[in-house]
Symmetry: C2
Subunit: 87 residues, 2 copies
Amino acid sequence: MLVAKIFVCLKPNVLDPQGKAVCNSLQQLGYTNVIEARVSKYIELTFDSDNEESTWKETDKICQELLANPNTEHYWFTLENKEESQS
Amino acid sequence: MLVAKIFVCLKPNVLDPQGKAVCNSLQQLGYTNVIEARVSKYIELTFDSDNEESTWKETDKICQELLANPNTEHYWFTLENKEESQS
């Protein structure tokens, strides 16, 4: 089995309201040296397949079709064997 | 400047409704070999500090106080120099 570890992040020039909220809360809690926070999605998909090439293509298509909004987000991912990924 | 790269994930035994929704959608789109999806948070915090030790402690405290729910989530993070983290 293969595991895709996918990061879906807002593009740098896109406003991140969640990140702003986290940053403001931290500064109110006294963590004044936190100057920026960016909140993104981290998604792990487990595939019942051991074919890295086809799974890589499938993951890329899944990111484009469902997980990432091409207007505001960019994504990257790694592919690992399920056993390795749990070590 | 230092950047903390924080992962906040649901504990393995905790139900992940978002993950279930992603998995179901993918299977309806025809990606039948996707057998599990887990959705988590990936947060980057930028600190106006170069002191790794104090920033590490601060990040750990922030995770416990604000970012992770100790009942249902666990977290881990790395600390990098801002310049390195953008390469």
